[in-house]
């Protein structure tokens, strides 16, 4: 019996993998997406859901701006609102020095041709966020940014991908990858899978494929932590961050507060586990307390951590392999990949179908790590990949 062959094998069916698979399928390609667990199991499902252009690394700006346009019509894109609310994002300055730094950023972005970030003064900040602590002197506002529901978003992309003809295989780890004929063959517990091209969206495990191709990448798995509180009456509309502190703070429609901020728990990617560390959550609680002292009696009811792929220069790997024809990478989004997911798929479709990206992705090329030692192997016996 002939084994079906695919045009593209996407490794990793998290949000970026699903976005790539969806866009490639919509270009008429036959796509299979393989995931060692299930969509949303790791970073995709357990992040803060921030949809922001605010505060982006300069290299990510064009991608983020383009992605936000898709978010504003996400229901057309994937058939579900994904819980997206354009409630604005705000980054608070607590003193004059921070205010100056934020205002300088606004200038810099204007020079680059971007005006989505605006400085708002103390009065305007307190009009928008009456609950914020008195010492805050102003903020950056990104109107049109907002937040969405991560799990709902993953499910929507998954449904849309299936509708577009993508085959998704869960509990299907990639065990080996090798060139076969003019394409590639991956080995899985269910047998080999052949494809013309491979897209590596394996997140914190992205180096498994990269190193197998001879282009290792120092991606590490971090367990970024989140906390959620009891329900509160509505008091906070925008998503809030702070210039001098790690914080992502938002209130859901149901009144609960989500407190994130990039503090790390204990990551055990080799066994899919992560645990919170209360020493880090203590810092998050102190941060909230500094900005909203009246929340001291509010109760945290749950905390968790998800495995994210982190890069040392804080931006992902996106682009063609430097070593292998027909292999492409999109992983290592460092805890801020959620908003970019819709555009990752567009970029991948451009690369595979038209040979080049219409958005600038030079900064994300994998070759920037050439010569760096292979420090971040995240493999288990079943997942040791050999090219």
């Amino acid at each position: 019996m002939a084994r079906p062959s695919y045009d593209v094998i996407v490794v990793g069916a998290g949000l970026h993998g699903l976005s790539c698979a969806l866009n490639l399928a919509r270009e008429g390609l036959k796509v299979v997406a393989l995931d060692k667990d299930h969509p949303g199991r790791h970073a995709s499902g357990v992040n803060a859901g921030g949809v922001r252009r605010l505060g982006r690394h300069e290299a990510e700006l064009p991608l983020s701006v383009a992605a936000l346009e898709i978010w504003h019509r996400i229901e057309q894109e994937v058939g579900d609102s994904c819980g997206f609310v354009a409630c604005d994002q705000i980054k608070v300055a607590e003193n004059l020095s921070e205010a100056e730094a934020l205002q300088a950023r606004v200038q810099r972005l204007r020079q680059l041709g971007y005006d989505h970030e605006q400085w708002i003064d103390e009065d305007e900040l307190k009009r928008r966020v009456p609950a914020v602590a008195g010492h805050c002197v102003g903020a950056l506002l990104c109107a049109g940014d907002g937040s969405a529901n991560p799990f709902r978003t993953v499910m929507a992309f998954r449904r849309a991908a299936l509708s577009a003809g993508v085959e998704i295989r869960e509990n299907c780890p990639v065990q080996a990858l090798r060139a076969a004929g003019s394409g590639w063959r991956v080995d899985t517990p269910d047998g080999p899978v052949d494809g013309g091209a491979v897209v590596n969206c394996a997140g914190a495990w992205g180096n498994n494929i990269a190193r197998a191709l001879g282009e290792p990448v120092p991606v590490t798995a971090a367990a970024l932590m989140l906390m959620i509180t009891e329900r509160l009456a509505p008091f906070l509309s925008p998503v809030l961050g702070a210039a001098g502190r790690t914080l992502s703070f938002k209130q859901f429609d149901n009144g609960t507060l989500l407190i994130g901020g990039g503090h790390r728990g204990t990551a055990q990617p080799e066994c899919n586990r992560s645990r919170v560390r209360f020493a880090g959550l203590r810092i998050s609680a102190q941060t909230v307390g500094a900005l909203f002292p009246q929340l001291a009696d509010v109760r945290v009811v749950r905390s968790w951590a998800g495995l994210e792929g982190m890069m040392p220069d804080h931006i992902p790997v996106i682009g063609p392999s430097g070593r292998a024809e027909g292999v492409y990478h999109a992983f290592g989004f460092c805890g801020h990949g959620f908003q970019l997911a819709p555009i990752t798929g567009r970029i991948m479709a451009d690369l595979l179908v038209r040979g080049q990206s219409s958005l600038p992705i030079e900064a994300f090329r994998i070759q920037r790590f050439a010569g760096i030692a292979d420090t971040a192997a995240v493999d288990t016996p079943e997942q040791r990949i050999s090219a």
């Binding site: 307190k126 009456p130 609950a131 914020v132 602590a133 008195g134 009891e230 329900r231 509160l232 009456a233 008091f235 009144g255 909203f292 002292p293 009246q294 929340l295 001291a296 009696d297 509010v298 109760r299």
Partner: protein, 110 residues
């Protein structure tokens, strides 16, 4: 809703009498009572309305498991009344829906 109480106390003269208030009404309690127990003894059945639908609820398990007995005790919201012992002069209020948050400059919630 408060009616004449169905509850009686065992004849135990040695317990100290205390008073507290519930939504402004004076409640007689005894030393060792939890807030929830004192309210039930006084004939109170409803102590909050839910944040989800506004449905009336009252204490259910009395042992800190169910979180039905959430009340405002001396200004602190969403405290389990079954886990706090009555003190003389305690001011207790029912919770109406989700707890409230004050604007900046006021360090007590709501």
């Amino acid at each position: 809703m408060v009616s004449g109480s169905n509850f009686h106390r065992l004849p135990e003269p040695e317990h100290k009498g205390l008073t507290m208030t519930f939504d402004g009404r004076t409640i007689e309690a005894r030393g060792g009572d939890s807030v929830a127990a004192a309210l039930i003894a006084a004939g109170v059945t409803e102590t909050r309305t839910t944040p989800v639908s506004g449905a009336a609820r009252g204490p259910y398990c009395m042992m800190g498991v169910c979180f039905e007995c959430l009340m405002e005790i001396d200004g602190v919201q969403n405290v389990q009344g079954c886990m706090v012992q009555v003190r003389e002069g305690m001011s207790v209020r029912s919770m109406a829906g989700a707890r409230t948050v004050s604007d900046a400059g006021n360090t007590h919630g709501g």
